[in-house]
């Protein structure tokens, strides 16, 4: 098995350092350019050649470290001796690659003290390319191999490598950008010092101001955000509970249709609801026109601001709360309620004294999930917020606005991060107490108690109108795609679709995608399709490592993985442009930055669905495979993966669909070449071109439903005889 040997990875590192071009090539790599030894241009050369021919001495440590690792990579000698070489060689190699990358940027030395030490450098370097990446990967695996040879991870190289890869990718694509961004808080502004400008930024009255109490002015964005998130979470949780009770505890005929509601937030592009509300309640909306026509009262712009954003968010996130609460209500053992009733409690008393208290941790969880989503939400506030600023939109305007104040963006992002983390930690604490939801493994007997009549009445009275309203909003939103100008010219038309998705035949018979939206649509589908399998495989690998392996630092790894979920999208977006604008990883403007963003934003969903599936999989199944002489990898491939098909579907669908509908992070990362659908739509919205925006949204919804169906088909279902295993979509955030 040469492909899995340490020697293979040593050769990879050697190839990266000696043969392949080290830096990123502006015009892409040609086949001839792959052999970068003896090139005329230093930038197109390998590290070794740059050091030898162009006097770039900072590559010598890299080359030396890789050479040092060779005795460890050869399959001879004692494991202990080989481990020493691999650890030192690989470790020093990683260090040398990182240090030389950080030390020299596009303008020479990155830090003044280096210039003082080595003198002015009459040179610069670009971002790391193919060679550098391979060398990094090779060194990383050599280190993990060395660790496995030292007996860590039960001596399992595969596990060790997987953990190493996970740690490195989290460090590179989450920790480093977030820290870089937080560092921006400390950049001096004007002639103020570091401390003074930090204080000035943090103590900004635009953030903390309380002027709205008692007067008609807006409060600081912090309070705006907090108020909005609290109201949204409370309303959505109450509504979600009503829906969940109806679906699980009544014989309501439309129960199944109501369950479909839970799929909506997954496939809805982020502006559909905002647009729908504008078309109903906006200045030229249906309601406003009817009211003006019948009573002559102008309702005006009330939908823009707190009211509208709150309404839109409640519409958007109620299905999420609903999904979480279905599980909570279903998880309550009927036996407890039956016990209560045999103890002569009335239905109402049973509900108040048993059912409701049992649901409290679940309700708290749903509340916090919605709170975090509202906090991170960007689509609704940007469409409906008007002058009502929240953190996510303020960050956006700090970066793209005239001021280009990254320091301010960093401070706002830092505040958002802290609030998000607090909610996240609180949520873990709530769920960590095992919520009382009974998972005994024993089959529960008994029937759930019917709802007491008063509760039933309230649930129906709240949920039914809301469900109808939701349908109206969606219908209106989609209807907007088929009329010429909403509110003024109601002529039915397909012109919006035509402008977006026109196809013409050129003179030579070729198809021309002349519609304005084709480019962004193709890009979006392509990038989402690339990102989805990567997300799913890394996520499932992480899930497997976390549930099946015991090693030092496992909890820390799990925590940091889940932490990436708590970082709001806007924060990640700002962090990515700040970090990847400059070498050593100069990927701004490429497809890579978008893919990385999708993968690491959606990773926790893959991990969660994997962990959930894996914990239902008897651990002795993999152990049986291991005792039956299968390698760890074979056990994973032949036993674990086939049994995880539902989780794979979930992870694939989720990461694909979320990659297509996300906006908060990518809005910072798109470029002319790689434009995403959501960003295209938002630009149309900002220009007031609602028709085209809505037409595009409609197409996206249809596409995503098709994608979900396709992926379900492609992966197939597990063959387990009579038992059926439905794929469950977990609740997850969008932003």
């Amino acid at each position: 098995m040469f492909l899995g040997s340490s020697l293979f990875f040593w050769l990879l590192a050697a190839l990266g350092a000696a043969i392949l071009p080290w830096h990123m090539q502006q015009d892409g790599v040609t086949v001839a350019g792959l052999v970068a030894l003896g090139q005329e241009d230093p930038e197109a050369s390998s590290a070794l050649w740059q050091a030898m021919a162009f006097g770039r001495f900072w590559f010598w440590p890299v080359v030396a470290a890789i050479a040092l690792a060779l005795p460890g990579a050869l399959p001879a000698g004692s494991a202990a001796r080989r481990a020493v070489f691999l650890l030192w060689g690989g470790g020093l190699g990683l260090l040398a690659i990182v240090l030389q990358g950080m030390a020299i940027g596009v303008q020479g030395w990155s830090w003044p003290w280096l210039a003082a030490l080595f003198g002015e450098l009459d040179d610069r370097q670009f971002g790391i390319g193919l060679g550098g990446s391979l060398a990094f990967l090779g060194c990383l695996v050599m280190v993990t191999d060395g660790l496995a040879m030292r007996g860590l991870f039960k001596g399992d190289r595969f596990v060790s490598g997987a953990v190493g890869l996970l740690v490195a990718s989290i460090a590179l694509f989450t920790a480093w950008p977030v820290l870089t961004m937080l560092g921006q808080m400390f950049t001096p502004r004007g002639d103020l010092g570091i401390g003074a400008s930090l204080v000035e930024r943090v103590a900004d009255s635009k953030i903390w101001g309380l002027a709205c109490v008692g007067s008609n002015v807006n409060c600081g964005v912090f309070w705006n955000t907090l108020l909005l998130a609290t109201c949204t979470a409370t309303a959505a949780t109450c509504l979600g509970l009503c829906f969940a009770l109806i679906v699980t505890r009544t014989q309501f005929p439309a129960r199944r249709a109501m369950r479909l509601l839970t799929v909506l937030p997954i496939i809805t592009p982020p502006f559909v609801i905002g647009l729908g509300l504008i078309l109903i309640f906006g200045r030229s909306g249906v309601v406003n026109q009817i009211v003006a026509a019948t009573t002559g009262v102008e309702l005006g712009r009330w939908i823009y601001g707190f009211n509208g954003v709150l309404l839109a968010q409640v519409f958007s996130f109620t299905p999420t709360a609903f999904l979480v609460l279905i599980g909570v209500v279903e998880g309550i053992s009927p036996a407890m309620e039956e016990a209560s009733q045999t103890l002569r409690a009335s239905r109402m008393r049973t509900f108040r004294a048993v059912t409701l208290p049992l649901m409290v941790p679940g309700l708290a969880n749903a509340w916090l999930v919605v709170f975090v989503e509202s906090l991170a939400d960007f689509g609704n506030p940007i469409v409906l917020g008007g002058s009502y600023g929240v953190l996510s939109t303020e960050i956006f305007f700090a970066v793209v606005g005239a001021q280009q104040d990254f320091g301010r963006a960093a401070v706002l992002a830092g505040i958002m991060l802290v609030v998000g983390l607090c909610a996240f930690l609180l949520q873990r604490a709530v769920v960590g107490r095992r919520s009382y939801v009974s998972v005994t493994g024993k089959g529960d007997v008994g029937l759930p108690t019917p709802l007491p009549p008063p509760v039933r009445v309230v649930a129906f009275a709240v949920a039914i109108p809301w469900a109808i309203l939701t349908i109206v909003v969606y219908t209106m939103a989609l209807a907007g795609a088929f009329v010429r100008v909403w509110g003024r010219d109601w002529t039915p038309t397909l012109s919006h679709f035509q402008r977006a998705f026109a196809i013409e035949w050129a003179a030579d018979g070729r198809m021309l995608f002349s519609g304005g939206a084709w480019h962004s649509l193709f890009t979006t589908i392509q990038l989402a399709a690339i990102a989805a399998p990567i997300t799913a495989s890394i996520g499932l690998l992480a899930a497997w490592v976390l549930t099946r392996q015991r090693f030092a630092g496992r909890t820390a790894l799990e925590f940091s993985l889940m932490l990436t979920f708590a970082v709001p999208g806007t924060v990640i977006g700002v962090a990515y442009i700040l970090t990847y604008n400059i070498p050593p990883l100069e990927i701004t403007g490429t497809a890579m930055i978008l893919i990385a963003c999708f993968v690491f934003r959606n990773l926790p969903v893959g991990v969660r669905s994997g962990v959930a599936a894996m914990s239902q999989l008897d651990k002795s199944l993999d152990e049986a495979a291991i005792t039956l002489r299968a390698s760890t990898f074979r056990a994973l491939r032949t036993v674990v993966l086939p049994l995880l098909k539902p989780a794979i579907v979930t992870a694939l669908v989720y990461s694909f669909v979320r990659a297509m509908t996300t906006v908060s992070a990518v809005i910072f990362l798109v470029s002319a070449e790689y434009e995403m659908a959501t960003v295209f739509i938002i630009n149309r919205v900002i220009n007031g071109d609602y028709g085209l925006a809505i037409a595009y949204c409609a197409v996206l919804i249809v596409l995503m439903m098709a994608a979900i169906g396709l992926i379900n088909l492609a992966v197939g279902s597990r063959r387990l005889g009579r038992r059926a295993a439905p794929a469950a979509l977990p609740a997850g955030g969008r932003a």
């Binding site: 007996g151 001596g155 399992d156 008897d618 039956l628 086939p642 049994l643 063959r719 009579r722 038992r723």
Partner: protein
Amino acid sequence: MTDLPRLTGAEVRLQGVGKRYGQVQAVKPLDLVIEGGTLVTLLGPSGCGKTTLLRMIAGLEQATEGRLFIGGRDVTLLPAGERNVSMVFQSYALFPHMSVLDNVAYGLISSGMRKRDAHARAEVALETVGLKGFGARLPSEMSGGQQQRVAVARALVLEPQVLLFDEPLSNLDARLRRSMREEIRALQQRLGVTVVYVTHDQAEALAVSDKIVVMRNAEIAQAGTPAELYTQPQSVFVATFMGEANHVRGRVLGTAGGRADVMLGEMRMALPDRGIAPGEADIVIRPEAVRLRREGGTGLSATVSRATYMGSHTEYHLTSAVGELFAVSPDRLQRARPGETVSVDLDPEGVIVVRP
């Protein structure tokens, strides 16, 4: 009937093997030799470390101290797949997405055998456990007992030197347990493989084992043949774990000529000398050694507090000067009644002095 070839069961030798999870000592360093071709049971209450010990032999857990030899080869650091052992799991761990035949052939294909040969061998293994013709089924389409046999066939087909069982019968009902344990024993004898068998059921251990290792609190309490453990337990724990036993206190007055002079309440008995020094001693009395006499006995005086008719015998709870006694008596017709005073004699065969 075609059968798998006879195997050469290897000796398993543990030298100071122990396992520690952080602060918790799951298995204290212990020495143990399991002879080739024998069936040895690890018996003990839950949490005593028996399963951890088995998993260390399997290679699913790494010993944190000591060395482990299988057939003379040091396997301490070898992963599970390279130890030439097979394991039957408590849950059977049959791969639910593979047919029975694919399950049994899995290990052979992992070891690099061609699929066709592996399937032929798997057929033989299925026949060995009496499941000829079931290969195309899925595990979920078989009964618990049949699944158990598939698990055994899957382990046996690799012709391991050592076969490990982790509480293999705990998911079966009582009747099936009896017949399966006999089948496992017969198979082991027929194929000559070394078997290490974990259970918490002493009846199961007595029925199948050449040797039983009783474990308690992460260490070996006593090891020996079933008869040794039953008749010569070295501690109250082993005595009470291996069948019912009354535990009372008595005195060893002195030893002479291979006999120990023991005082039990008012009663003086001569018991085999087991090297217990004179003084206070723990004494274990098997219930079947307690003989009741309703009239004119000369033994301990006791009062019947409860009498339970059990069909083939009667069970008594007695209150005596040495403490509560539990007795099993074959008399069925002339039962003593609660409240009645009886005289109790003890059969020296069933009275054992153990170290305090």
